[in-house]
Amino acid sequence: MAPNASTRETYGKVLVELGRENPNIVVLGGDLNKSTFTYLFAREFPERFFDFGPAEQNLLSVAAGLASAGKIPFVSTFAVFGTGRAFDQLRVGIAQPGLNVKLVCTHAGIITGEDGTSAQSIEDIALTCSLPSFTVIAPADAVETAHAVRAAASASGPFYIRLYRPSMPVVHRDGCSFHTGKAEAMRPGRDVTIIACGIMLAAALEAAQDLSAEGIECRVLNMHTVKPLDEEALEAAARETGAIVTAEEHYLNGGLGSLVAAALGRRFPVPLETVALTRYAESGKPEHLLEKYGLTAKDVERAARRAVQRKRR
């Protein structure tokens, strides 16, 4: 097993570096700053850090005001609050004018765990991908998180970055060639392509390794940028491998699977299998939840076998 590392702690540390490099970076939080690791920035730059308490609507609209005056606000809270509670503020206040606000939320997905369904954000990708001017990134590990946060800081326009509560396996042990909007090729293969984002990339790679022993060679694409989707890489994968599997730790409707299905339908339809959540989960340990709700490497493997069979029919 690969060593684990925390995406949110990495985020907090990168923010401090960015704060040193660029005086226009400001950070806003909603009384969850220990959990999101923005307290590190607050400690070093107290004058550029603002807490608004658990009042996410105000939080996001204040960020819009700061952005309109030339600041680069990074807003952090839990994913359920930052996207769901303040969706209208994201829509009218940030997405429609295209303001330079960076929403980086932690505690996404069911792996938030014991706190239960109210805290488990399985709709955040769908919500943010429904906003035309937003770029949406679900990093696969701590290494990629650092690249994504830096990319967001140097690009203009609204970003949503999805981070997690538990530490995660480091997939990018030999570095990371991150480009916003460009899928990363993780493994070559000709039989089927697994397209994954977030924590499911590690599961996809594990599945690909196991399937290789059975003689099924999987291409694995890291679709860290869910919006805009890298449709060129997707079409090439469909043409060259003839079958696609998506893997995400998010609700199917409006998530990576839906977006890939729509793009495939337009560009080059091939058999598609989806590994995603299809209902709300419950309290529990992350590994138990992933098992029960069908988000393990074994689930990806089964989906890949189904896709290969459908291709041969």
């Binding site: 004058e47 009042a55 204040v62 005001g65 700061l66 005056a69 206040g93």
Partner: protein
């Protein structure tokens, strides 16, 4: 403008007429030739449906040609149905009530960080104060002691469906703002001397934000629109427009002759 468009919000535009006029032609430090001038004072129209009054002021101040006003709400126009930053001089995209005061808090914080001395004004509707976010913003403006921020509540007592007292009782409104840590003034929102004096007082406050509750009449200046709920969100028809313009012409004549 609304008559030409066949839709829009004349009532709440007319109630804010003297307030917006005072800001753009007496108070704001601004430059119509350079709408994004960093040192400018910011006027944020949180009740973004009242954009006709803002567009009229911006056009007269020179942000864009007066003729463009007749393109309001038309496809391809820069003058959107609710204020949007695509219009030169418009600071914030609005249209969903309750967001403007928060936006104003953000611009005021940015001004403090950059050591700029610009002031920030946010105009809210009274019905808009039903939105919980207004009070989140109010709390945070007081917490951060934003004394360069002035809110104005257009207290015309009518919201979309009915009178505010029927939809959702706001009183005691001044006490609410005081309880949230604000300096409060109440004025006649159609009296230029009172408006100018209130802004002067608001500018002298230190250590807390100020709010001006401007008591106004919805549809002010047009007899059949005044205090008429119907004209919150409907444009006058041809006959009504003729009557309205006649009344406004009469008012202007009296003003120029020194009777008003």
């Amino acid at each position: 403008m609304t008559a030409e468009a066949g839709s829009g919000h004349p009532g709440g535009s007319l109630s804010a007429c003297e307030i917006v006029t005072s800001l753009y032609f007496a108070l704001l430090r601004h430059n119509p030739q350079n709408p994004r001038w960093p040192e400018r004072d910011r006027f944020i129209l949180s009740k973004a449906h009242a954009c006709p009054i803002l567009y009229a002021a911006l056009a007269r101040a020179g942000y864009f040609p007066v003729e463009e006003l007749m393109t309001f709400r038309r496809i391809g126009s820069r003058l959107q149905g609710h204020a949007h930053i695509m219009t030169p001089g418009v600071e914030m995209s609005g249209g969903s009530l309750g967001q403007g005061l928060s936006f104003a808090v953000g611009t005021a914080l940015a001004g403090r960080l950059d050591r700029r001395d610009y002031r920030v004004y946010a105009l809210l509707g009274d019905g808009e104060c039903d939105e919980g976010q207004v009070w989140e913003a109010a709390m945070s403006a007081a917490h951060y002691k934003l004394d360069r921020l002035t809110a104005i509540v257009d207290r015309n007592r009518i919201q979309n469906d009915r009178f505010t007292s029927e939809v959702m009782e706001l009183e005691p409104l001044a006490d609410k703002w005081r309880a949230f840590g604000w300096h409060v003034q109440e004025i006649d929102g159609h009296s230029f001397p009172q408006i100018l004096r209130a802004f002067q007082t608001a500018g002298d406050i230190r250590g807390q934000p100020g709010v001006i509750i401007a008591h106004t009449v919805k549809g002010k200046g047009i007899s059949f629109m005044e205090n008429n709920v119907d004209f919150h969100g409907r444009a006058p028809n041809k006959e009504e427009l003729a009557q309205a313009l006649k009344e406004l012409g009469e008012a202007e004549r009296l003003f120029r002759e020194g009777h008003a």
